[in-house]
Symmetry: C2
Subunit: 127 residues, 2 copies
DNA sequence: CCAATGTTTCGATAAATTCCGATATGTATT
DNA sequence: AATACATATCGGAATTTATCGAAACATTGG
């Protein structure tokens, strides 16, 4: 994938961040839309969006648009790379990541529309 | 090794840096002393030392003192971790890293004392 | 003890990153 | 067209990081 030092450094920078690493690990366990990511991780929607943008630039994930929703998943080309494998393997064992995954199951069960409305409400009542 | 999100993020930050990644890859191909690292990578000795400190804090390398020299190598406990394996695998393919390794062979052939004196001289003539 | 030398830490400025509310963009629905 | 809604981007103050010469520290050998 990346055959240049700078590119790999940029990719590493992308995951050298608590939220972005959690997002990557979360997406690594299955496709999600942006609002689901924001809801699962309990962060502002703009933060989720920015985290995903960086992960996209790093070449780790890709997006699939469906109407106004954007679904994100691990880029299959990257899935084979030793680097991503190592990162995901390291992340999988973390308690925080496991909790996020459990929460993702609940959120997925609700369906996308319900979740996204919930996010909107959370934003509004955020003071 | 690291069983906490923050620790892994700190480890990733340590290698999200051109010089530090090069240093890690270099040490990954065999033990070197600090002055050799500085000479191979053509950086000030203090930069090499700082890079190694971060890699040590990240749990990737350890040191072995021999007189006034400090030899650094990959921490054997870390060598087994998927994360480090992935990082080293990704780095190995980079042209810059391969050049560094070729240069390391030359520098190693000179022996430690000759190299370290050379570094001193380079510093002095650095204007 | 003193000088030489390898390494580490400090200092200080410049540059990059983080964070999230506000705003903009694009897409469906009516 | 107008509204609603999901996502993306912007602004910009606060925090962190990078860099490397200078100075401090540690070890060896006279």
């Amino acid at each position: 994938m990346a055959d240049d030092l700078r590119e790999i450094v940029e990719s590493l920078k992308a995951v050298s961040h608590p939220l972005r690493l959690r997002v990557l690990a979360l997406v690594g366990s299955g496709e999600l839309c942006v609002c689901q990511v924001a809801e699962v991780l309990q962060v502002p929607q703009s933060s989720a969006s920015e985290a995903l943008r960086e992960l996209r630039r790093a070449g780790f994930v890709n997006e699939r648009k469906e109407g106004r929703w954007v679904f994100v998943s691990i880029l299959s080309a990257a899935e084979a790379s030793p680097l991503l494998k190592g990162i995901l393997a390291a992340a999988r064992g973390l308690p925080e990541v496991q909790k996020d995954r459990a929460r993702a199951l609940e959120v997925k069960a609700l369906g996308v529309p319900a979740v996204c409305c919930k996010v909107q409400k959370a934003e509004a009542s955020h003071v």
